[in-house]
Each structure stands twice: as C-alpha cells, then as structure tokens.
C-alpha cells in the first residue's frame, strides 16, 4: 500500500487489481467452433450543459469457425493371427483434434502376400469398444466426429466431472460419446447446450438494449472403462483445451492362404483425412497374418502274427498305421481320410475292444475294427459309418461302406475336434492323429 501512495504522490496513479498467477498462464488450443463472440459497445454522453446524461449501445457478434485438423488414428487391437479362410478383426481409434464438428474419411488398401486375392475387408464404425452403436462403413465414406473446447472445469465428484464449454458448442457430442481430453479418454454421461449471450440492439443504435448473459454449456464425463480407464480429475487452467470425440473403426479381414509353406500376409494400410481433404494422416499399417495349413499323411504296415517279417502269409494278420500330422501353425479343418481294405485281405473286427476281433466276412455293424488316437485320447471305431462312436472327448468317427469287411471296401475316417459321422473336424496346429486297423491275409 505504501508503494501505491508513493505512486500517487508522484502523480502517476497506477491501477491495482489482485490477480491469481494462474489467470495468466492459460495454454490455449482454441475456442470451440460455434462459440459466439459478442461485442457490446456503449456510448455515454452529456449535453452542452453537462447535466443531462444519455446512453446508446449496440452489438455485433461473430461465431467461431471450425479449424480443420488432422485426426489421430491409433491401432488399439491389431489383427490377431488366424487360420486361412477365417476372419480376423482389428480395432482402430479415430480421435478428433479440431475445435468443432467435422466430416472425415478413413480409407484402406491391402497389400497381400501368399493370399488368394481378392481378400475381403469390411469396416464398421463403433461409438465405443463395446456397448455403443455400430454402423457399417466402407472405405472412404463419410465419418462425422464432434469436438468442442473447454472454458473451465468444475471439481470432480463421485467419479464424474462437469466440463464447461461455450454455449451452443456441444458440436455433436452426445451422452454415450467417448471424448479425449489431453490424451485421456472419458465417457460422456450428460450434456447441456447452455444459452448464448445476446444483446437486443444491433446496427446503428440511439438507445440501450437488453443483455442476455451467457449460460455455459456443459459435458459430464466419467471413466472410459474400455479406454484410458481413469476417473476424471481435470484441474487448473484448461481454457481452450480440445474435447475431441473418438470413434472406433473395426476392420474384419477374411482371406485364404495360397501357399502351403508360407503364412499369408495382408498388410492393411489405413489413412484418414477430412472429407474436403488437406489434412491426411500418415499411413497406419495393420498386418493380418493367415496361417498356411500343411497336413502330412503316412501309412505303414507291420505283421502282427510274425513280428519283424517283411511280408505275410495267408492267415497272418497285418496292422496298418495311418499317421496324420499337422506340422503347420494353422488349424486344419474338415479333415477326412479315405482308405480301402487292401486286396486279398479281410478287415479284422469284433464285438470287443480294437484288436480282439477276427477276420470275418460277415461281421456285425457294431463290431469295432479301428482305433483313432489324438495322442492323448482314443476311440474304437465301429464298422457302421453312421453310428455315434462312444467317446467323451471327440477324437474321430469312421466306418466302412455297407459295414463290409471284404477286400476293396472303402473305409472313411473323420478326424479332429468337432468331427461327426458325416464331417471332418479340426486337426489343430502341431497335433498328430493315428489310425490303426488290422487285416487278415486271405
């Protein structure tokens, strides 16, 4: 106070206002689009006598325009590696950095290796990772994203926080939207548009008008459990900070591998831009890998009656072993094996477990003739091809044509998990299945 008095004495009256430091440290990114800049100017004057005072006032208003800005595109979940012929799904977050609502576009292109082309990519826009709305999206189509900017923030309470924005600047943000503030995502639970400031006099005026004070708009945010998963606790001078809407682009890629020695690769390159152009993002690569499938089959024979013998005599029993090996990283589907009873032999079958039967030309349909093993579990297979083999873990099915056992009879096996008496199942990557059956030399 002493200093002020001194200044007064010196004849230089300094104006004093106490201001908190923070009021002078606002790092602003810009006012929200559609915020109203209202200028009210008032003239106060006297007549020549200096005793009668008069006033006139007028106003002019300007709306803040959209400042187009690049989106931020980030791969949230890249394509997981999948089997040839199946579909893999990736998720890309698209976040607005503008001060207002704009229409954008996302385009993608494939670059493929070892794939049967064309590959099929379908897009979907999600308003949230789960629980939001989803809309089918084609490459280059219109994509609307809202955005606004902060005026001030209210204290956070009970896991949510109210953000004040300029009146009339909700700009497409609605309850359920995901918004990003300073790189952290939040979920919007409520919004309010507010009331824009106004003044009744415009143009050339000779009188004063009536002012309407601005009632700020607001956005209530809470934790985005599928995103940043952080409870809002914004504080400090955040005026001008962008509140940008985020939507998710889901891409589903389906492709068939053309190689049995190399995995198929689809490198999907994604670029975003504003609809009108000029704000393209650099290409984002999201690679989908489809496993090639390679299943080997081997058939060996051994003389059961005379172990070690290189051949066999009539009446002796031979055992055939068919080994089906999936040495690749992909799962083989619908695996079936076609075989036949060798010439000059009769299939060995019987009512007991595998290996206890005899070579009988007229066996019963329910007689067991083969065993299928997946390395852990095994099942005895009956001659009847259409019956349900007794097994708790599905290993395989099989049978012979017309339940016959004579030479030349076709034998069929359906292998793998999910197989049935009519269809092959899945022989998973690195799994080996063995089939054994015996024949008696006629």
């Amino acid at each position: 106070m002493k200093r002020i008095l001194n200044l007064c004495a010196a004849g230089a009256l300094a104006l004093v206002a106490l201001a908190p430091c923070s009021a002078h440290a606002a790092g602003t990114q810009g006012s929200a689009a559609n915020a109203k800049i209202l200028n009210v100017v008032t003239v106060t004057y006297y007549d020549a006598t200096g005793s009668n005072v008069h006033q006139a006032a007028t106003s002019t208003s300007v709306l803040v325009a959209l400042k187009p800005t690049q989106l931020t595109a980030t791969v949230v979940n890249p394509f997981p590696n999948v089997d040839s012929g199946t579909t893999t799904t990736s998720l890309i977050a698209l976040t607005s950095n503008a001060n207002g609502p704009d229409t954008y576009k996302a385009t993608w292109a494939s670059s493929t290796q070892y794939l049967v082309t064309p590959t099929g990519i379908t897009g979907t826009i999600l308003t949230d990772v789960t629980g939001g709305s989803s809309t089918s999206y084609t490459s280059g189509a219109d994509l609307a994203l809202g955005a606004t900017s902060i005026v001030s923030v209210q204290p956070a309470a009970g896991g949510s926080q109210v953000i004040n924005i300029p009146a009339g600047s909700l700009n497409g943000i609605v309850p359920g939207s995901v918004v990003v503030i300073n790189d952290t995502s939040y979920k919007v639970t409520a919004t309010s548009a507010g009331t824009q400031a106004g003044y009744t006099q415009t143009g050339v005026s000779t009188t004063t008008g009536t002012a309407t004070a601005e009632v700020l708009g607001s956005i209530t945010i809470t934790t985005d459990t599928h995103g940043s998963n952080v409870a809002p606790s914004l504080a400090g001078s955040l005026a001008g900070m962008i509140v940008g809407e985020r939507k998710y682009l889901q891409l589903q890629d389906t492709a068939v591998v053309s190689s049995n020695t190399n995995n198929g690769v689809d490198t999907v390159s994604i670029v975003t831009d504003t609809k009108t152009g000029g704000y393209a993002t650099s290409a984002l690569n999201d690679t989908a890998t489809f496993f090639f499938v390679s299943v080997s089959i081997e058939k060996t024979v051994a003389n059961v009656t005379s172990p070690g013998a290189s051949g066999g005599k009539p009446g002796e029993v031979l055992e055939y072993t068919v080994t089906v090996r999936n040495a690749s990283s992909g799962n083989a589907g619908k695996v079936s094996i076609a075989d036949a009873v060798p010439s000059y032999t009769t299939l060995v079958s019987g009512p007991g477990a595998y290996g206890t039967g005899t070579g009988n030309l007229t066996p019963s349909a329910s007689d067991k003739f083969a065993v299928v093993s997946d390395g852990t579990n095994s099942v005895d297979i009956t001659l009847n091809p259409s019956d349900s083999e007794s097994q708790t873990v599905v290993v395989g099915y099989g049978g012979t044509q017309n339940n016959a056992a004579v030479a030349g009879t076709p034998i069929t096996f359906f292998l793998g998990s999910g197989s049935s008496s009519t269809l092959g199942g899945t022989v998973a990557a690195s799994k080996t299945y063995t089939i054994k059956y015996q024949v008696k030399i006629n």
Binding site: A14, L18, C21, S31, T44, Y45, Y46, V64
Partner: protein, 163 residues
C-alpha cells in the same frame, strides 16, 4: 393536417421550456466486425478487410465503432466503452484509433492509460509483486471524446485475436 398539429404541439412545448429551446445532442453508435484477408492481385499482396461472420481461432477481428451526433447540439464528455469480447485477446499493435484509449484490467471498475496499468500478483510465498499489465490482461477499452459537435461523426478501431 398533421403538420399543423405538430406545429401546435411544438409551440406548446416551447412555451413550457423556454430556456432550453429544443437543442439536444443525439449520438448514434454502431459497431462492425471485420477480418483481414490477404489478396494477391497480379503478384502483389494487399490486405483487405471483409465482414466477419465466422472466424477461426488465432484470426484477428478488427472492430470499428462508428459514432455520429445526429442531434443539433454538441455532445460533451462522451465515453465509448467496450468490454473486450469473451474469447478474444486485445492486440496492442498500435492499431487502436486516436484519441488514445484507456484500458481496464478489472472489468471496467477502473481505467488507466496502457503504460500506467499494473497489477499486484500473489506469489507462492504470499508476497505481492507489482507487474506491468500486458494487453492480454485487458478486460475493457474506452475512449473519452471531449466534444462531438452536432452533425459530426467519427470512428474508432481496435483489434482482437480470437483465442
């Protein structure tokens, strides 16, 4: 018919207020918002002002206040006051029109010349420090015009930047 009626009313009024007669100042006020655009014509760049209805952050609005005395008596001690619009920052680039404006940093409670404006700031230690106000601190601008003679007019300009 109408004319004679007005005539008689005037006469009556004149009889009631003989000292003042009917002389009276009437100041009209108007304000326009414009933005500067750079026009390139035959390789030469020039800045042109166009009406601003929409403006992008960081762009400059040029406000022009028009005043005119349409009355038949001089207006005296006219004060034209204009709060710096919300969402904008005053630009101290010497563009404000004469007469020299005064500024407020406390929403119009007090005004002073730009060079004499200062404020006290509370430091974290609790001590107060005096600082020179900068143009971004200004909350209001005003001009004082001693006399606006009847029939005369003028304009005042200032520039703000959109936050």
């Amino acid at each position: 018919m109408n004319r004679s009626l007005i005539g008689s009313t005037l006469l009556l009024a004149a009889l009631m207020l003989p000292a003042v007669a009917f002389a009276k100042p009437q100041v009209t006020i108007g304000v326009t918002a414009e933005k500067e655009i750079t026009v390139v014509n035959q390789g030469k760049k020039s800045v042109k002002l166009v009406p601003a209805t929409k403006i992008t952050p960081n762009e400059v609005i040029v406000y022009t206040v028009h005043y005119a005395n349409k009355g038949d008596e001089t207006a005296t001690n006219a004060v034209i006051e204009d709060p710096i619009p919300k969402g904008t920052v005053y630009l101290a680039d010497g563009s404000a029109s004469a007469p020299e404006p005064e500024f407020s940093i406390d929403h119009g409670k007090s005004y002073n010349k730009a060079t004499l404006l200062s404020y006290e700031m509370k430091l974290p230690s609790g001590k107060a420090e005096r600082r020179q106000a900068t143009s971004s601190d200004y909350t209001n601008i005003r001009w004082t015009i001693k006399e606006i003679p009847a029939g005369s007019s003028g304009k005042l300009k200032f520039r703000v930047k959109v936050k």
